[in-house]
């Protein structure tokens, strides 16, 4: 994790130095920090303008985000960190707990917020997000992400018990999230049963009682509204 973290910082900073643009707050400390570590100077990446080096991957190659979006994401991520951890190196390695991520206004009110964080977390306990995880999240929810990858993650988010298929419990939990959890806002049991029966009737092509990923993607591919609604913008 450490190795990838330092490469990431170099990428971010290299972009900055070559661009020569205004360097906002935390990122300005980057070059000073790097010059403090003399060993690193040697393997400094060549600027993007030069000949392409196949061992260097811009974050844009790995995500669907533009440079500006990545930088904005980094700034927002740093705001979640305590003051003393906001340096470049640290911000790329530290993990932010679920509660802090959920306090972001973009996620705060979302009924699927816990699921989203769980799906994108790579920590063993699935309870915290690193900057890379955060970028993953934004990449999938960005405008330019392919419908395939969007529907894949939507499936993961809706698969509440993480068992790889959407069964009746998953569906009812999903519907409850959509309509609100309160007693008065829920569908009645009979309505719920009717609804889930209808959904399975439509989507469960192989009639095994659950919706698997390919069935889900098949349905979603025919839903014109999905790509426009599966978006989060910072």
């Amino acid at each position: 994790m450490g190795g990838s973290g330092s490469r990431l910082s170099k990428e971010l900073l290299a972009e900055y130095q070559v661009r020569g643009t205004r360097v906002p707050g935390e990122l300005a400390r980057g070059p000073a920090l790097r010059s403090g570590v003399p060993g690193r100077e040697a393997e400094r990446p060549r600027p993007p303008g030069g000949p392409l080096n196949p061992s260097r991957f811009a974050l844009q190659d790995l995500t669907f985000l533009t440079k500006q979006e990545i930088i904005l994401a980094h700034r927002r991520f740093c705001e979640l960190l305590p003051q003393e951890h906001r340096s470049m190196e640290e911000s790329l390695q530290i993990r932010v707990s679920l509660e802090q991520i959920l306090s972001l206004p973009e996620l705060k009110a979302n009924p699927f917020k816990e699921r989203i964080c769980k799906v994108f977390s790579t920590s063993p306990a699935r309870d915290s997000l690193s900057f890379e995880d955060f970028l993953d999240l934004l990449s999938v929810f960005s405008d330019t992400a392919t419908p395939d990858i969007k529907s894949h993650y939507a499936f993961r988010i809706f698969d509440f018990d993480d068992d790889g298929t959407l069964n009746r419990e998953d569906l009812s939990q999903l519907v409850n999230c959509l309509t609100g959890q309160g007693e008065d806002t829920r569908l009645s049991a009979s309505e719920m049963k009717q609804l889930i029966d209808n959904i399975l009737e439509e989507s469960d092509i192989d009639r095994d009682g659950t919706i698997n990923l390919s069935e889900f993607q098949h349905v979603i591919s025919r839903s014109p509204d999905f790509a426009s609604s599966f978006k989060i913008v910072l």
């Binding site: 990838s4 991957f57 009110a109 790889g164 889930i196 599966f230």
Partner: protein
């Protein structure tokens, strides 16, 4: 072990009756057997070095082998070269994948210049796309609107932006093809004096004597007075030969360009809608799976959205029940429902008829009223009379749609059907009232189509009342455009803002309900399309109309944005982005078609004014084109005339019908292939589950022994 699931062949009877025995950890449960299938394993694979989906923490210790198996199963997936960022893996795994791919490339000798250039090309393409994305105006604003108010509202603004683009293009073309040639051939001549006499009467648009400031203002609003003989209107343009051809061509070029752009825009919407073939079949799944707008933020909006979804689902379920009931309705009930519908439709027709008659009357009355001395004396009344048709059209469009909304639920249709009816009636009202206005003007210009009538005999048009009828048409459209903008402003300033402010002052439930205003996407979009149709009709007679419309739409964009953020809450149900993307371009096309009719009619059939405009002296406006073709070299002439003959048209028709048949056959065969494959999937899944059940049954039997 006896608790383990047994083979239940009867479980196949109904969907969803399948008991999914999760959590039965004691033996090889059916779900665990199914989970170990290679296909399932592939789906659960999350890339190298990451636990697959569904591997819980307790399993981690013995998960090593599991991961191995899963990785092997997923190898197949990796054989196709997928760009790293399109893999549904965490960043770490994607980076590893990217590295290994790069290494492979190096091993395969990617140092060759070819691969190098391919990489370069791809990068620069991506950069270009990124640049283009940033060039798009208001991309950020649109995103923010989408985030806060949902995709439906966002699509209104993107439509507005699209229309703005159309208008900017049209303005540029108009400037290049009409304004430039006018001044290239020397300063245009002034207005004809009162003493010029001809068999077609006289035309004297110039203002007489000293003009007061209010008169100036009223002229500005009605397009008369000093504006009448200005580049704004058709009459001003001098009869230069090149100008006339360019003037006529600009209309066709703009029309074609707009047609292509609109088609291009609606194609994507059309594709999606066709993909969702038989929408009734998957409506529940769509309602649930793509219901949530993940961009929504703010507790209030989220709660509102949840309520909307709940309501929508309940209505949908109820509707299904109603539909089932309707299927078993008795003959008497059926008759009752239909008679109610018939009565209501008659009512609607009566309302529409009254509205159209009002518009027709207003247009006719304008001319008569203007002659009255009382009106002549008071400029304010004169202005009111000038705007009478616009006032009637706007008033009708303001009053009738709510009435339609009231009528719709009484008809006993399902809710989704009701929306369609309301929309169709509103569109009809909007566009038809414009047509009625045009018809009424046509009636005046051509003396009701009677070329032998006394007023029209000499010149082919009513030269006494309308010495320059093209300018008059342009003025009508100019007034419509202006009045539309003013009415929009008035509604915003006098109704929406006070309502918001007053209701903000009085707390409680009443204040909240009255103060909550929704951004009505369909109404607003129809307003836009109506405005654009007016511009299409008018741009031949008033060449600068696209420019004015550009300014208007620009203003509208900011005003609507401001109202949206200041007064509105998210739009409610029914208007999904897909509807807007598909249905509204269709209406836009309808508007373009409708506007083409009067423009083409006046170009081909009505004789142009003898005293004004670039086409004076021609038998019809179109006659200019054959005339200028006859000045071209012989070969070009022959070619152009050949394009108009049957020898060219018939083969073209044949070829296009052949292509169409081919496409239809292709589509048909694809459809058959799809249903074939679907059946295959079903049998395969049945086989799979059957075998898994046998395996479970056998192993549990072994365990029992």
């Amino acid at each position: 072990m006896e608790e383990g699931p047994t083979w239940e062949p009867e479980a196949w009877g109904s969907s969803g009756a399948w008991p999914a025995p999760r959590g039965a950890r004691t033996g090889p449960s059916l779900s665990s057997v199914l989970n170990e299938l290679p296909s399932a394993a592939t789906l659960r694979y999350r890339g190298p070095g990451v636990l697959p989906w569904g591997a819980s923490r307790e399993e981690e210790e013995d998960g090593e082998t599991n991961v191995q198996a899963v990785a092997e199963a997923a190898q197949k997936e990796l054989e196709q070269p997928v760009p790293s960022r399109e893999l549904p893996w965490p960043m770490q795994a994607r980076r590893a994948h990217r590295q290994s791919r790069a290494r492979d490339e190096v091993a395969q000798g990617s140092d060759s210049t070819k691969a190098h250039w391919a990489l370069r090309l791809r990068r620069s393409k991506e950069q270009l796309r990124e640049r283009l994305h940033t060039v798009q105006p208001w991309a950020w604003t649109l995103k923010r609107i989408g985030g806060q108010f949902g995709a439906g509202t966002e699509s209104y603004f993107s439509l507005l932006r699209f229309l703005l683009l159309l208008n900017v293009l049209a303005s540029v073309l108009k400037a290049c093809m009409t304004l430039l040639p006018t001044w290239l051939e020397g300063a245009p001549p002034g207005p004809p004096g009162p003493d010029t006499s001809s068999p077609c009467g006289f035309y004297n648009p110039g203002p007489q004597g000293l003009v007061t400031f209010p008169t100036h203002l009223f002229s500005l609003l009605s397009g008369e007075g000093f504006l009448e003989w200005s580049p704004l209107f058709y009459g001003f343009y001098p009869p230069y030969r090149h100008l006339a051809v360019a003037y006529l061509c600009s209309v066709f070029v703009i029309g074609l360009l707009h047609l292509v752009l609109i088609l291009n825009r609606s194609v994507s919407g059309l594709k999606q809608t066709l993909l969702a073939e038989s929408g009734a079949l998957t409506s529940y799944s769509h309602r649930v799976f793509s219901a949530w707008d993940f961009g929504l933020r703010g507790d209030v909006h989220v709660r509102l959205r949840q309520r909307i979804i709940l309501y929508e689902l309940q209505v949908e379920l109820e509707e299904a029940a109603v539909r089932r009931q309707a299927a078993v309705r008795t003959l008497g009930q059926q008759a009752k429902v239909w008679s109610v519908r018939l009565l209501l439709n008659l009512l609607v027709m009566a309302l529409l008829g009254a509205a159209f008659y009002g518009v027709y009357w207003a247009t006719g009355a304008t001319v008569e009223l203007q002659e009255m001395p009382l009106v002549q004396e008071m400029p304010l009344v004169k202005l009111g009379v000038d705007f009478l048709p616009s006032i009637f059209i706007s008033g009708v469009n303001f009053l009738l749609p709510p009435v339609f909304k009231l009528i719709a639920p009484l008809e006993g249709y399902t809710r989704s059907r009701q929306i369609v009816f309301i929309l169709l009636r509103t569109v009809f009202l909007r566009l038809a009232s414009l047509l009625v206005l045009l018809f009424s003007l046509w009636n005046q210009i051509t003396c009701g189509g009677n070329a032998e009538a006394e007023e029209c005999k000499a010149c082919g048009y009513n030269y006494k009342e309308l010495p320059c009828w093209e300018t008059r048409l342009g003025q009508e459209m100019y007034k419509l455009l202006l009045f539309d903008l003013l009415a929009g402003l008035a509604v915003m300033l006098l109704i929406q803002f006070p309502r918001k402010l007053l209701c903000g002052l009085c707390p409680g439930a009443l204040g909240r309900t009255v103060g909550t205003q929704e951004f009505q996407v369909p109404d607003e979009v129809l307003g836009l399309i109506y405005a654009q149709t007016v511009v299409w009709v008018g741009s031949f007679f008033c060449p600068l109309l696209p420019m004015l419309n550009t300014v208007k739409f620009l203003l509208l964009f900011y005003l609507k944005k401001f109202t949206l953020f200041f007064t509105c809450s998210p739009a409610s149900r029914t208007f999904r982005a897909s509807t807007v993307n598909f249905f509204f371009p269709l209406v836009l096309l309808l508007g373009l078609t409708i506007s083409a009719v009067p423009v083409l009619y006046s170009i081909f059939l009505i004789p142009p004014s003898k005293l004004c405009g670039p086409f004076r002296g021609q038998p019809s406006i179109w006659a200019k084109i054959p005339e200028s073709i006859s000045r071209l070299p012989r070969i070009t002439q022959n070619f152009l005339f050949f394009l108009g003959t049957q020898a060219f048209a018939v083969p073209l028709l044949l070829i296009s019908s052949l292509l169409m048949v081919y496409t239809l056959v292709l589509a048909n065969s694809y459809g058959r292939l799809i249903s074939e494959l679907k059946r295959q999937i079903e049998t395969e899944a049945q086989n799979k589950v059957f075998l898994a059940q046998r395996a479970v049954a056998l192993s549990s039997a072994n365990g029992a022994l």
